[in-house]
């Protein structure tokens, strides 16, 4: 066996694992429709092909197990037996056994000496036994429900990726281009021909950017790869809880980076367990409330706003807000004063606080002290955010937003001791600058520890220079320079980091440190800055641990604010997001918009300096929104040259007092429903209602009534064209 070709073995393993996965998937589906002959045939084929190939390698144990399963499936296929929970359990146990053996083969190239005779006997017995009447309608768990989220230490890791041949061709093509560009560059440098250098540099830039995008694509995988195992998990957990639950998956083709898919495994598993154990009611309770006996879980994924959204919705009882309130107060997680201010939605998010639990009794499945705070930490570790919404009596929705990739992250560059360091934005809460005049007041010493007065509380401070043993740039304790503090959070720790200076915010490419250097836990990796210099990336949890800050000692008052970022009392409003100028996103309330139109350029007519279009039996004057906001006069705004080059023109139609005006925008981005507070921004220009956070970024909110009512454009337009419009 030593001489066996590695490549063939590897192929066999990955193929067999895929087959085992398929068997599991089909079995869980088959339980719902036991008569589906097509499924049975697929099952049979999958098990058969595992058996067939392992004969070639001489894996006798694997062959024996698969053979017993194949016999039983043969009976199902021929209709001699029908699928009972007992058979389903035995077959699922078969899948587990196959996986265990395959895992061992991958690790040691041997089948190992675990005995599978009991399983084979069980399968054979079912095969030969007379068809027993099906007694139970609820499937029992196939094995003990595995409580470790890893699914067994022997689970073989996927170490290869499939890449589309077209993508590979494109990559090869781009590398070819890259080589040509390099040759050209070398030639030009060698011959001192610097005239064409800018053009070559530009080409190199283009090819490199394209190459980067394409390579990133090879790392993208459908999230369904992770979700394959969830129907089985749902079945087993539900059976262990004595409930019946079905899991529907939507958007399994949504793609994201491999590393993120891996990191999402535990949180998703945990959420599903929780939803089944705590969310979905027992069958009797459901029946009493007039719900179908079978509980429903919906897991869906989709792309939106440059992020991947994952939502898990159950149709259970909703969160017990009263009990959450009691538990949180009893465990002193929230002060009474603050508790009075929280809304139901905020209370729902209290479940993410560390140490929170309402469980009165620990079940086999959840409530073991590993709470939702772990889920939240896992999600935040990969730069994501989590939020829960509860509808009493109707269920709970947990929303997770995660970045597409981990390889490139937004970061803040700071300096300490003359060297630059990067802090991931995901860990950054805010930046604080303490002027020398405030220093004595805001930066007191608690015994020997410097702290910062921060939001009615005290925030422990760490000095990056002390941690890194670099020479301090300051003279004395509080010199006459302002102190720059980055407020960081990680897991449930919030801490202020004193740095020499804050340099810039930029996207960085994360490069791992080699194994031997990873023992320095305060660095998450390194990155290469624009000037070619190397900057180390700080690992915030590691930094806190290094400084001896215990992970469970939060700063009072801070965590709740960190969780409850959304202003809950704001009304839900529908907004149209559009670009007014290049990359300038503004939001317009939907109620101020009559229609969104696309008008072909050739139908735009000019009268004098004004542009207009025949529209719904009338005339619609067109003005450029960008030009109005640039404070141009009415004439310029309506002048065709400001309308840009697009064809057709995206137009927002606004109606007022029976008149219409078409506002030409750069592009219409999307329509969103957002529950965000509008804050009046100081120094806001006329026509803006203020700014608000939409899709995680600050967006200016336009008020068309005000804009057209008060600005010279509106005044000028309205009387001059009275009677226009529909």
């Amino acid at each position: 066996m030593e001489s066996m070709d590695e490549g063939i073995l590897r192929e066999f393993l990955s193929e067999s694992l895929e087959n085992a996965e398929q068997v599991e998937r089909e079995l869980v589906a088959l339980e719902r429709e036991p008569g589906d002959l097509k499924r049975i045939a697929t099952l049979f084929r999958a098990v058969h092909s595992i058996k067939g190939t392992c004969g070639f390698f001489g894996f006798t144990k694997l062959a024996a197990v698969a053979h017993a399963g194949e016999n039983l499936l043969g009976r199902l296929r021929s209709g001699e037996r029908t699928l009972t929970p007992e058979i389903a359990n035995a077959l699922l146990a078969l899948v587990d056994a196959l996986r265990a053996i395959l895992g061992r083969i991958e690790a040691t190239k041997e089948e190992g000496d675990e005995a599978f005779e009991p399983l084979i006997d069980r399968l054979n017995q079912l095969d030969t036994a007379a068809a027993a009447p099906a007694q139970a309608t609820v499937p029992a768990p196939a094995n003990d429900v595995r409580l470790d989220t890893e699914g067994g230490a022997t689970a073989p890791a996927e170490s290869s990726v499939r890449v589309d041949v077209h993508l590979l061709d494109r990559l090869m093509n781009l590398v070819g281009e890259l080589v040509l560009a390099r040759n050209q560059l070398l030639l030009e440098v060698a011959s001192s021909n610097f005239v064409d250098l800018p053009a070559t540099a530009q080409r190199l830039n283009y090819v490199t950017t394209e190459l980067q995008e394409q390579v990133m694509k090879t790392r993208m995988q459908p999230i369904g790869a992770l979700w394959n195992k969830l129907p089985r998990l749902t079945r087993d957990v539900a059976a262990a809880c004595g409930k019946s639950v079905r899991l529907d998956l939507e958007g399994t083709e949504t793609e994201l980076d491999r590393s993120i898919i891996e990191a999402m495994r535990d949180p998703i598993t945990h959420l599903i367990r929780n939803a089944i154990d705590h969310g979905i009611e027992t069958r009797a309770e459901r029946a009493a409330h007039g719900k179908p006996e079978e509980g429903r879980l919906l897991l869906r994924a989709f792309h939106e706003g440059g992020k991947v959204h994952v939502e898990l919705t159950d149709d259970g009882a909703g969160l017990p807000i009263e009990r959450i309130r009691e538990s949180a107060l009893r465990q002193n997680l929230i002060s009474t004063a603050r508790a009075a201010l929280l809304t139901d939605r905020e209370w729902a998010n209290v479940i993410f606080l560390p140490g929170f639990s309402t469980a009165e009794q620990v079940t086999n499945v959840s409530g073991r002290g590993v709470g939702m705070d772990v889920v939240k930490n896992n999600v935040e570790r990969i730069g994501g955010a989590i939020d829960v919404e509860s509808r009493p009596g109707q269920g709970v929705t947990v929303r997770i937003r995660i970045p597409l990739t981990l390889a490139i992250v937004p970061a803040l560059i700071v300096t300490a001791g003359g060297e630059r360091y990067a802090i991931p934005q995901a860990n950054l809460t805010e930046l604080i600058r303490v002027e020398p005049s405030e220093a004595a007041d805001r930066l007191p010493l608690a015994f020997d520890a410097p702290v910062l007065r921060y939001r009615d509380g005290l925030l422990p401070l760490l000095d990056l220079r002390d941690i890194l043993h670099t020479p301090s740039a300051r003279h004395g304790e509080h010199g006459d320079e302002a102190v720059s503090i980055a407020v960081l959070h990680a897991d449930d720790v919030t801490v202020g980091l004193v740095v020499d200076a804050i340099v810039a915010s930029q996207e960085i490419v994360v490069k791992p440190l080699i194994e031997q250097l990873r023992q320095i836990a305060i660095f998450a990796g390194a990155t290469i800055l624009g000037d070619g210099a190397v900057a180390l990336i700080l690992d915030v949890p590691g930094l806190a641990r290094h400084a001896g800050i215990s992970v469970r000692s939060g700063v009072p008052g801070v965590p709740v604010e960190a969780i409850l970022s959304e202003a809950p009392s704001a009304p839900l409003r529908t907004l149209v997001l559009c670009h007014a100028g290049e990359r300038w996103t503004i939001a317009i309330p939907q109620e101020q918009i009559a229609r969104l139109e696309e008008i072909p350029r050739r139908s735009v007519e000019r009268i004098g300096e004004r542009a207009m279009v025949q529209y719904r039996g009338g005339i619609l004057p067109l003005v450029s929104l960008g030009a109005i906001l640039d404070l141009k006069g009415a004439r310029e705004a309506a002048d065709a040259e400001w309308l840009g080059e697009r064809d057709p023109l995206p137009v927002v139609v606004h109606e007022r007092d029976g008149r219409s005006v078409g506002l030409v925008v750069e592009s219409i981005v999307e329509i969103v429903a957002e529950r965000a507070a509008v804050s009046a921004s100081p120094g806001a220009r006329a026509g803006f209602a203020g700014s608000m956070v939409v899709r995680g970024s600050v967006t200016e909110l336009l008020d068309l009534e005000k804009l057209l009512g008060s600005s010279p454009v509106g005044r000028d337009l309205a009387p001059a064209h009275a009677g226009w419009g529909a």
Binding site: L468, Q516, L517, A533, A535, L536
Partner: protein, 145 residues
């Protein structure tokens, strides 16, 4: 193989040292080194090798030689350690590639003391001096410890 091996030689302090050419990936002249706080003393920092982050190991520190003075320690040798992990060694000066015959390898004298004894694989007597062949695995193990 009787024709022997090729060693990439370099100088650190007054010693002529060598590594088998098969473990040497490339030789770099001046290289910007970024300090790596809290690392082992022999790890001087990290360098940017065409987008790869590679640790820079100070050979003087490994061999317990006095720290380099200004102007020394300018050249860097990039080597491939176990499992293909790259590392760079900071040396004073790059020497020639020298052909040696395995049969002429002498054991490291018992009188070599300290860590150096572990790190020196053996000695090749050349006509104008001694060439000490280093044990790369040991050097990296000591450096990262």
């Amino acid at each position: 193989m009787t024709e022997g091996r090729l060693l990439c030689t370099f100088r650190v302090a007054d010693h002529l040292l060598g590594l088998d050419i098969t473990v040497v990936q490339e030789v770099l002249r001046r290289q910007e080194i970024t300090r790596l706080p809290l690392s082992a003393p022999a790890v001087r920092g990290i360098i940017n090798l065409r987008g790869h982050i590679v640790p820079a190991v100070d050979l003087r520190c490994c061999l317990a030689l006095p720290a380099a003075e200004r102007g020394e320690g300018r050249a860097t040798i990039v080597v491939r350690g176990r499992e293909d992990s790259a590392a760079s060694l900071i040396v004073d000066e790059i020497g020639d590639v020298v052909q040696v015959v395995e049969a002429s390898l002498e054991r490291t004298p018992e009188t070599v003391h300290g860590l150096a004894r572990q790190l020196i694989h053996g000695v090749f007597p050349l006509h104008d001096g001694l060439l000490l062949e280093l044990d790369l695995g040991e050097i990296l193990r000591v450096a990262y410890a």
